[in-house]
Subunit: 336 residues, 2 copies
Amino acid sequence: MVRGRDSEAHGPTWQVQAALIARRFYLEGRSKVEIADELGLSRFKVARILDDARELGLVEVRVNLPAPIDPDLSSALQERLGLRHAVVVQQPPQDSSRSTREELGRMAAELISELVTVDDVLGLTCSRTVAATTQALQTLAACPVVQLCGTLAGPDMEAGSVESVRRASDVGGGQAFPIYAPMVLPDAATVRALAGESAIKQTVRLFPDVTVAVVAVGAWRSELSTVWETVGALGRSQAGKAGAVGEIGARLFDAHGKAVRTSIDDRVLGVTLDQLHAIPEVIGLAYDERRAPAVSAAVQGGLVNSLVCDTALGERLLETAPERRPGRPGDRGATA
Amino acid sequence: MVRGRDSEAHGPTWQVQAALIARRFYLEGRSKVEIADELGLSRFKVARILDDARELGLVEVRVNLPAPIDPDLSSALQERLGLRHAVVVQQPPQDSSRSTREELGRMAAELISELVTVDDVLGLTCSRTVAATTQALQTLAACPVVQLCGTLAGPDMEAGSVESVRRASDVGGGQAFPIYAPMVLPDAATVRALAGESAIKQTVRLFPDVTVAVVAVGAWRSELSTVWETVGALGRSQAGKAGAVGEIGARLFDAHGKAVRTSIDDRVLGVTLDQLHAIPEVIGLAYDERRAPAVSAAVQGGLVNSLVCDTALGERLLETAPERRPGRPGDRGATA
DNA sequence: AGTTACTCTGCTCGAATGAGCAGCCATTTC
DNA sequence: GAAATGGCTGCTCATTCGAGCAGAGTAACT
């Protein structure tokens, strides 16, 4: 006689009930049977109302991160490039390099806080971003901290590599292994001479033991690498001809991430790309979309296997970087 | 200070992974086992990450209604007052009476669209809010529409009861039973005379058959009842002394919802409170918080058992109205 | 009016899930 | 040093959930 009156359409009554049920279920985390019993409905009806409500967009589930991380981009990058960790920091592109560096540094600091244990050996290259990272460091396991290359004697280099290593060592309480010497030296002889120095030798000897490295990835272009400025025009042209697209710790590499041998190499005091390659966890830091080719190459060549970058660079990487991992098993697009 | 490696705190890596998992689980609706298999984790770990994420507020579940309904208040009112249906329309208190009426009308219209079937008999009292309801009516079952009281001959009464009944009848296609007469008449003799008129008699005779009534609840105060103005000062003082707090269709009732007999009654052409009481579903419309005592009384007395109101009135009702044993929240007649 | 098609409802069964528990690893404390 | 402590991990079992199914009442169509 009487039809199902309360189930005609999705009118106000239905909405109110659906909202009530959704609240009980999602917010209060109660079970459907419980709700059904309470409201005098069958659990199936409750389930169906819940389904309808979700389909109608009545229930909105949002994933918000406390930190300014873009989770989708991060995951996409991680999968696409086959990275161990990927953290994309949401940063408006028009923001200054300085603020971007600081934001990246905060995130990288948290990342290594999370990652590094006492059993690790932390290695740091020289860069303003790495300096920002150590500045932002709040906690760190008491692990040895090794400087991976000499310091950059730039003008605004108030925070050089030595300071970074010191800072990390202070925060964590581990031993510091600094390198009191410039990264790029006048000639090979000076490099050899300094490499023989006792403290530096001790540090360099630890390079193979480094388990976690934090490195800045520079593009081999003006303004996108702190090293670019320090080598002469001769070195730049030589490197350009050899196909250099980026550098890590003044070690140049080409579009495939392979080392580019130039005369610069002999003048550099620091970790080599081969040594870098052997480090299990190398966290690359970079932030300008123009560095995409360099970062892409570094990832390709296995020089870095984790990445902290800004949104612009992350998006560019996702667009341009070649897939580095086989497609995942279940691409369940049309099946559901 | 050594902690478990990949699970120390809720750092960036954890956040990214948690966000990924939360997305897969909540947004894409995949199962935990599936996610666990894909990411190479145990399903327990996935569940724990999900729990932590929820506790951290990383996952935000919001219940949004398409219509401006306050679901919490509605549910609370429904339960508290033992109402069949309660719909609280979110409306800023400073909004004009007119816009509030229209909003209430829209919602009430949807409500009766949802509720009324061809087997019902719809009854309407006279009020601007009821007029707004029928104006907003889009669909309606082809049921008879009965005018429950005469029209109010106020100045701005462009939409009287007759028009409401016509409109509802037009939309639904059911038969209309209007009353072409004023609601409050000069004397009892006139009432008797009009009640004898053929068309009116036919309408009045249908009152006991009405199954769904839409009525406006007025407070027995100046400006809060359209009837207040139409009865003389004598009637007002008489009613006040008798304890009237509200009216429905010019029928006064006291704080307990009991009928208040005054000389006005004899001059009114329309449904009595006893008749109203017998109607299974009476939807009360009201919108000003100053009407709270009247609405509360009407609910207490069982004169209305569903309610459409605005936020201010709803909140006031929840604060002041005494708890009332919920009869049977929800379905009527649909007992399985 | 008869009949067909459909929607709504509640049930069954297998999969998914949550709570509690034991083992393990690492640190802390005596 | 060695035991105590605490957190993390994965397992078991009872509960809960979801997909599909059958019956009933309704709407539509002939």
